[in-house]
Amino acid sequence: MKLTLQIWRQKDAKAAGKIVEYPLDGIEGDMSFLEMLDVLNEQLINKGDEPVSFDHDCREGICGTCSLFINGEAHGPDRGIPTCQLHMRMFKDGDTIFIEPFRAAAFPVIKDLVVDRSAFDRIQHAGGFVSVNTSGNPVDANTIPIPKHDADRAFDAATCIGCGACVATCKNSSAMLFVAAKVSQYALLPQGRVEAADRVLNMVKQMDAEGFGNCTNTGACEVECPKGISLENIARMNREYLSASMKG
């Protein structure tokens, strides 16, 4: 497969970046997208050029480290996967592929395709702690009855890997799907109810302080989310926020 790559290159956080074209040959359909970038980087290193920086870690679709905005979509044209699970069979010979970093004021570019997503960490920190019984005779969590559908929904919300695709794809750079997932995973369980009001107020406050945009319910985040986090989580967060606001 012969490809033309249009990749965002940026020396560091302060430098102005630009799109640079790279022709690439010998790519096979069974390669992952990141392996294709590995091939490019090997060639660049052999030529003495600076390789393209991009985030990756587990390459198994579970860590949320990889990012990339590929041909106008977060994690590329496939659905329900992060970039590391995107395979080159989704493209065809002769294609031009645009590869850009996730774009948001709250996700500043560090270098090339690497962005700083620590805003997500600070939102999670703002959520605070979950009370646990430390009396020496803790109750086993399995003995607390939880309706099956609540447990399932909490688990679905907890599958969010915090990759930031929701922010990257949202036309408003809103982080509401991420924050809603983190609010929901606790709000649906009895252990999480204890600090639920403070948690949602503080997480939303931090989300706003980080400079993310506002959700306008386009639903793009749900479509692009590699874990299929549902919009119903955002409705739940709105409810949680409104009810917490009433309590003050």
Binding site: K171, S173, G213, N214, C215, N238, S245
Partner: protein, 222 residues
Amino acid sequence: MAKSAILKSSIAKKVAMALSGLFLISFLSLHFFINMVSVFSADSFNAMSHFMGYNPLIQFVMQPVLIAGVVFHFVMGMVLELKNRKARPIAYVNYNGAANASWASRNMIISGLVVLAFIGLHFYDFWVQEIVYKYVDVNSIEPTRYFEELNHKFESPIRTGLYCVAFLLLSLHLWHGFGSSFQSVGFSNKYSRFLQKVGYAFAIVVPFGFIFIALFHHFNQI
């Protein structure tokens, strides 16, 4: 957390947009009903219009509330639009918005501004002239003038055309706005899908009903 901080939060703004939008939808439903009456009965239309024009509760309470609702929805919409633009200072070189969201949902600002421009024209056409009739020229009460005035406005093919275009954009605005309002206030349960369908039906029936009314009065005079 301080109440003022809560009111300034992104979710409070979102809820405010939704509630003002739902209020405008309720007004639109009433307006649609009265206009539809004009197709069937000039007398009934005159009677309803006269009631709306001279009832003190509607004139001096509901009308200012409605104007405030429109202004609020517009101002809040612009505030959110500017904030959202600031949230991505460097645009993507290649952004495929159509891959994951409808045109209507991505372009509420465009459909909204067209509807706002239409409201300006509509105010000039009906509201300003009604105020002049009642409070500047101080004309006598004439309970049967409304149907004639309506017909007169739809004589011009250009004005009728502008109205129709605005209604098409209103349809797109409602297509996303109706269901989105319920999502914003946290409504998400087994009725959500049904409500979404009600929203789609509303977004078709009401604006296209208005188009029908405009064309009906236009062609009735040729």
